[in-house]
Amino acid sequence: MAKGYWVAHVDVNNPDGYRAYMEANGEVFRKWGAKFVVRAGRSEVVEGALRSRHVVMEFKDYATALACYRSPEYQQVAALRRPHSSADIIVIEGYDGAQP
């Protein structure tokens, strides 16, 4: 079955405030079996424009990725990040067709 992903692009305007979110989200992600695929590594925007911090998380499927985002426990920690950042976030289904 295709996996599910979160793809997030974030501008952090208060790094100290944002840290509380980063410390709190681990427990939620653990519970939902999420795995960090990308977490603010070295990067180059080669076309267009995006916010400055980039995260990709992998879940066992699309339904789980959505359920984690909508869960009361995630929404509770998300409230810790919103005052300190602006984000574009999509939850998206993975690909399991033919590869190059």
Partner: protein, 208 residues
Amino acid sequence: MTAKGYWIPHLDVSDPEGYKAYMAAAPAAHRKYECRLLARGGQWEAVEGRSRSRNVLREFTDYTTALACYRSPEYQRAKPLRAPHSVADFVIVEGYEGVQPDGPPATAARKGYWIAHVDVTEPEGYKAYMAADMAPFGKYGGRFLVRGGRREVVEGQVRGRSVVLEFPSYQAALACYRSPDYQAAAALRQGKAELDLIIIEGYDGPQA
């Protein structure tokens, strides 16, 4: 991140002249399975117990590939050329990818990713690009994690179609983008789509 696979043969060669035919035949298999020779016939010392006199270490992408190479027709054709001229203790093992003595991160090159959000303005024209990009992606070891697919923008806004590709390393991800092959394919999407594309190094620290 997959653990690598290894061949570790220890050999006593009784007839070096006869053994040469094997050394000429084996590389066909090694090339096909893209192994890396880490040690072969260098200086050695059996610091405990005993060892045969010729020691070799070959690295493969993973354990399955290491086994597949050994079992391949190419290698099985070469093997009878060595048997009459040598005795071997030969083991194929899976590599280690856990925590290292100096703590995490656990080594291994981080992977590289493309994250693209695309507004396709001319779907028909864009199809030509979608067919042409497969060859450069294949050449640089790209793999689609996300390609279109159901989605929900849960916060903010992004363009209408999203793609995530995984490459063996950040360098490979960048090199693919900069290659003449990919740029030739990219020219096909000019004027047919608008996109935001970032190339980024993967994460290999501790998980949540």
